[in-house]
Point group: C2
């Protein structure tokens, strides 16, 4: 383990001057609406829930306030139609929203976006010497098994849906599969390196 000699002052110095663009999830939601055409908050939630990433839960408590914020910021608007005793809001991306979206999908890619990669499994491996060898083996075996089945799941789904998916959806899924394969290889390597 290396002794980290970095000084803390350097931590604070990422000079970005509050541009207040949409956050990651907000951009994602804008993109979803733009692609599906006008749709309700519920449709967005359903999309998020169906996506394999599970990074965002698509919970109501996140989406409804977020859509209000998109409207407030001028990135989206909605048409309200009566729906029983209630109302129903169909959201659309405004031209300003489309601009923000274009910015989200443009070079130069801001700091952190290309760097950001967090794997809680890897975080654990860094500290695996804190448990006895027996536990290490059990941990790695389980990690390998879980990664393997997750990879299989992704591959099956891709084959299943191959015909109905567009190119960019396929590219995205390919990226996830490549990452999982790499992780599996890596875990197997670590496992093999263990002393008998």
């Amino acid at each position: 383990m290396v002794n980290p000699s970095t000084i803390l002052v350097a931590m604070a110095s990422s000079g970005d001057q509050k541009q207040a663009g949409p956050t990651e999830l907000e951009s994602c939601v804008l993109a979803i609406i733009e692609r599906r055409g006008a749709c309700t908050a519920y449709a967005v939630r359903r999309y998020l829930a169906a996506s394999l990433s599970s990074y965002w839960s698509g919970s109501a408590g996140a989406i409804y306030p977020l859509l209000r914020k998109l409207v407030r910021a001028g990135w989206a608007d909605f048409e309200e139609t009566p729906f029983g005793t209630r109302k129903r809001r169909v959201y659309r991306v405004t031209s300003k929203g489309n601009g923000a979206l274009g910015h989200w999908l443009s070079a130069p890619i801001p700091d952190g976006v290309a760097a950001y990669t967090h794997d809680p499994l890897r975080a654990r491996v860094f500290f695996l010497d804190l448990v006895p060898p027996r536990e290490r083996r059990a941990f790695l075996d389980d990690a390998i098994a879980q990664t393997k089945s997750l990879l299989a799941l992704h591959q099956e789904e891709r084959e299943e849906l191959a015909s109905e998916l567009d190119d960019w959806d396929l590219h995205g899924r390919e990226g996830a599969i490549r990452e999982l394969s790499a992780r599996l290889d890596w875990l197997r390597g670590v496992r093999r390196a263990l002393p008998k």
Copy 2:
């Protein structure tokens, strides 16, 4: 783009019954203290800041309250020594904390830990058809360039520190490098698939 037919009810049904173990960052901090031996909050922050992952900033506003919580939960304690007019707290992992740590590093690995993988770059690629081809190319070129230099950075640092790093640190770093390599391959593939 597939029409996600998953029902939302399924979203809420991840049956975990509030075990209230340490969170990811809390476990990580426990592991850091355990490995370095007794240390101050500042040392933990410095470690986090030096780690290449950048997932956690190691900000004071996170670490100091977190350490209080660790103490409250019985996972850590501290020795307070006078330090000028102030005091200085040296934290240690308690045996209960060590138990929690052992659990963190044990099979079975809970749901989500092995699945969780979020790449904001990949999220963008899913929606890259929303911008004109010219922008797509620029985006991918930048993504490739940034990933390449990040990979180089990691590899250099590994070589530089190879002698002072222990096995598990090396394994962890290898994992990050593998992931970045896979991402780079993938991005290049996507780039090549673009029509002239």
